[in-house]
Amino acid sequence: MKEELIVSGRMNDLVDPNLHIWHWPIPLYLFLGGMAAGILCLAALYYMQGKEDKYRTAVRITPFLAPLLLVLGLLALFIDLRHKLYFWQLYTNIKFQSPMSWGAWTLMVITPVSFIWCALNIKELFPKWDWKFRWLKFLDEFFTKYKKALAWVMLIFGIILGIYTGILLSAFNARPLWNTSILGPLFLASGISAGAAATLILSKNSEERTHFARIDLVFLGVELFLIIHMFMGFLASTQVQIDAARMFLGGEFTTSFWIFVVFMGMIIPALLEIMELRKYHIPAVIPALLVIFGSLMLRFIIVHAGQASRWLY
């Protein structure tokens, strides 16, 4: 029997909540950033394939959500900083080994790009829109000319943003639950499925809805596969990672994870979408909202549980 006693004011999350350093803003941001990444990737991809009329909502309408999500996400990040007035230090340094530095610079690129993309499509929402100033019209023409390059930037930085939300966590070997490279692709897949779900809600075209229901289905499958893989990896790893996996396999996060993330966020919407593809009538908004909810819960539970997992000594 080994008993560890903390005599003086040692701070860990068991004794003192201070070391549970990341609260709601971080998982909220990871969700918003991931979903924006998914939306922008899908928009860029279908634009480059020349399907902007076939999937008009995904290319032209849903991206209007992206700047909103990114700005809210940045706000959440800012709220999380404790030394707020020094935030500009992020942009006077480039640290290649720090995922957070990568993320800050990625956001610096993709946020303006998402605004430009919306500006180019603004006539979709306001057909009588007029830029009024000559230089704005000039910019509009300039970016319209290079729209394909813009789409490439959007796709590449969208993928980096989606993966980075996971890599941010997996770079910490001090928290065994996070210390798996699967979190990168998992969060990317979850972001893309949430992005596809957003189009599913907004689209009025049944052909487009069917297509995005299929995309959602594929990425839900990928996510489930990655989650199973993640736990297989943990269980075959060291004691600390086995302990981390056990938090989800009988431990304190079992119920919330399997019910909210896997069952409600993946299995039920997948079944509903399969039924819809088989021509049962199901309002598309139900599986879509469930997917978005599952994607949000995934971030909250992983961020929360990660900080409860630790090395033993």
Binding site: M1, G9, R10, R82, S98
Partner: protein
């Protein structure tokens, strides 16, 4: 730094000295005492450790810092520049020893080995006050420093070396 767990009685003098010397805000600490009891009665052993930042050679807190506020100075001490720290908390999440805390002023704070004292030829506050003289401080590259000398003569370990951080706090047991 070396800590002799066979001499340490866990009086927490080092903790109080540090809090006084460095004006550590109430409720926080840069060093702390851990008591580990192993076995069941009557076969039982106790180890008392005075713990603090391990000033790792491969410090994850320095690696993950997005602004470079966390850095390693010549001699190997890991420090935080207050005016570069944005308080994002990445270093706190990255430390397997949980050695850092968010200072109420916003920046992240941690053990500095009392860098302001040692550069004036003094010992860190915790080492200075230790009543059982179980803390040994010195440059490990210098074979004649207090820490090097005591480590040469004793059996020692580091904490969770398998975390891969190459910790520089040595525990004699």
């Amino acid at each position: 730094m070396a800590v002799n767990t066979r001499k340490c009685v866990g009086c927490s003098d080092c903790v109080v000295a540090c809090q006084t010397e460095n004006s550590v805000p109430i409720g926080f600490c840069r060093d702390w005492i851990v008591e580990v009891n192993n076995g069941t009665y009557p076969q039982i052993t106790t180890e008392i450790r005075s713990e603090r930042c391990n000033h790792c050679d491969n410090a994850p807190c320095v690696r993950c810092c997005p602004t470079g506020a966390s850095h390693i100075i010549a001699g190997g001490i890991v420090l935080v520049k207050k005016t570069e720290c944005i308080g994002c908390g990445a270093c706190i999440a990255s430390c397997p020893y949980d050695a850092r805390y968010p200072h109420p002023s916003g920046y992240v704070d941690k053990c500095t080995f009392c860098e302001h004292r040692i550069k004036n030829g003094m010992l860190p506050a915790c080492v200075e006050v230790c009543p059982t003289k179980c803390l040994y401080f010195g440059d490990l590259d210098d074979p004649n420093s207090d820490a090097s000398v005591v480590l040469k003569k004793n059996r020692y370990k580091t904490l969770i070396p398998e975390a891969g951080t190459v910790p520089q706090l040595y525990f004699i047991y």
